[in-house]
Amino acid sequence: MTKNISDGVETLPLPQLDEEERAAKRKEIYAALEDRDVTVQPATDDNGDPLENSMVLNMGPQHPATHGVLRVVLKLDGETVERAVPELGYLHRSMEKLAENKTFHEFMPYTDRLDYMSPYSNNTALCLAVEKLCGITAPPRATYIRTIACEIARISSHLLWMGTMVMDAGAITVFLYTFQEREKIYDVFDMLTGARFTVSHCRVGGVASDISEECANYIKDWLKVFKKKLAEWRGLLDRNRIWIERVEGVAVISKEDAIGIGFSGPNLRGSGVDFDLRRDVPYMAYQNFEFNVPVYENGDCLARYFVRLEEMAESVRIIEQALKQLPKGDVRVDDAKQSFPWKHEVYHSMEGLIHDFMMTDTGLQPPAGTEIYHAIEAPKGELGFFIQSDGTGHPWRLKIRSPSFCSLQALPHLTEGGMIADVVVAIGSIDPVMGEADK
């Protein structure tokens, strides 16, 4: 099952750009960054081409199809997009700076707000990074619970993507279908973590609470229904001529460009790069499961659509296997220096109270001067945390590698030359979440 990381990437040729081209491109990017409005402005009537009839249109930040507060400045000729410049930062909350003033556990709820379609993945990514930093190993049962929850979060995120992308193409009904299933996923999280949306359930060294028998059975039952629903939706869309024509050959990105721009996850696999962190750099319990990694070669919206649809089916397989194999035992490390004590210990023993106080006040004590990077395969792609430690309970520097931020760079590449209707489908197909892109 395991596969070397070099298989997918290193065999590909490097982007063919010589030094001058690189310099010119860099200059162009810097110019665009300096003043976005001006760089897409058409020439005025006085000095420009007399037949100039381009129009500059702001799509976003308040627009129904930009998935939050993304702003795309479009230069249009009729319905055709001549230039597209995405602008980010409307949801910037300086997450990385905030992290420097929080203990690792205090920062956990902030990660819920990164990719708010799959909070559990973000929690897990942070915990795994901190565990790597401090050399902690979570007990197997906790690892399995994390794996199950992460895969459910993936389904939840992909369901939202499916609903919104199809809705961007004008079919509103599928959106409501997928949201009915997401509602059940919220119920699952309610049972598992006690919160429906911002779960904050992961802990360094384990998880906050064990999975109940009732919850496991609920997930099993729901998966049976979900598989049928998925087939039903595919029946609605897979051979729908309007839908296929809307997405086929739209917003194409080649293998090389996808790697160059920093695509990851389903977007990368839609461009034909067979790379999945779950399989190639196994973390948590993924090496114990049988699953396929769907890869499509075309690099268009249709390819990304099929990749995500099939990923949902694979997630179902993983969850089913995980529930079957679920080991017995503790769900948190039994070491006061590595994780929080249980609540009954805090209430009924002096040591427990002291440990809780120490953990809350000074936090974990990673070795000074260490720096680590740990990435997981989040629903949107590679979500990585880079942490530099100075030996205190707070990270000296915490950098989040968010997949949406990197994917959005490709927007000009994907949309220029297409039509307005392609822009919304392209945004939908790369599935950005602004909470994560802006951080």
């Binding site: 319905e79 193409a169 004008g170 009915q180 729908n240 309007i242």
Partner: protein, 376 residues
Amino acid sequence: MNALALLLVMELGDRFALMGVVLGVLLTAVAYTVYAERRIAAFIQNRTGPDRVGFDLIPQLKFLKGAIGLGQPLADVIKLLMKEDVVPENANKFVHALAPLISLFAALTTIAVVPYAKGVAIADVNIGILYILAITSLGVYGITLSGWASNSKYSLLGGLRSSAQMISYELSMGLAVVSVVVLTNALNMGEIVESQTSNPLNWNVCRNLLGFIIFTTAAFAETNRAPFDLPEAEQELVGGYHTEYSSMKFALFFLAEYANMIVACTVIVTLFLGGYQVPFWTDAPWFVQVGAFITKTLFMMFVFIWVRWTLPRFKYNQLMDLGWKFMLPLGLFNLLIVASTIVIFGNSLPLSILNLVLVALCVAGSFAAKPQSKMA
């Protein structure tokens, strides 16, 4: 002479009374079509839809308890009346107000020539079908002008899209109508219905199936209904031409949109589904004929709503390709087939047989074909 004048006045009086009835029914029907659309959409999407607003203020209607939300249309109208009318700065205020009026005018006056039963129509003019084509093509002015007058780029794009779309589909619509005229040998709406007789095999949907499909598709495009709702594509253009409209002006667009849909359905019924003809009952009493007419119209309206909540929207180039590269040649081809059959055989029976065979083949084919995923 006096008696003749009196007869004329009496006849006109009848027609004016009918006009009042029709307009009243149409406006109520618009309100309840919105309600029906929301309920049907809710049914399709596994939701409940509007089910709260009732008529509890009226003591006699208290028993309804608003359980099925029948008061919703009324509440919506009152809400829209009480809203502030916002006209954006730099907008052309006169045209901004004129545009919804044109839309409403085009939507309401089209229905004047549609016959509801034998000899029952507001105006029995001998060029009825040309009148319908003329008035419906006015509707595009309302949308285009609203897009231009709002001084908003989203509105402008919506307006431009709609004018391109509506004129593109008017051609295939016109060709489908010509094929109907060839079959029925009349421009008068009443005569078109009469020539279809009470035998469903003689209805134009049987004699001219291709024309029916072309006309219905074009009617979707002309009324800006999904999958042809590009002018208001809310995911791309936010609200399209009515982005900058609020209050009663918006309500008029809304009214016009749904009135257009109802009128398009009545025209489809008249031209292709035998109008007021009751199947296998030649001289049915007038109320049965009106009932048949309404039933057919309701069915077509259900189809319109059903399609809207099922299909994704076209892209601009797909839409134009469909209109110009597919429907236009197809319409011409259909017209020539129909005309040749009429001239060569003298009647339309071969067409009916051909269409029935084609439909049977399609049904058999769809059962025989194995469903397969495109990329599997």
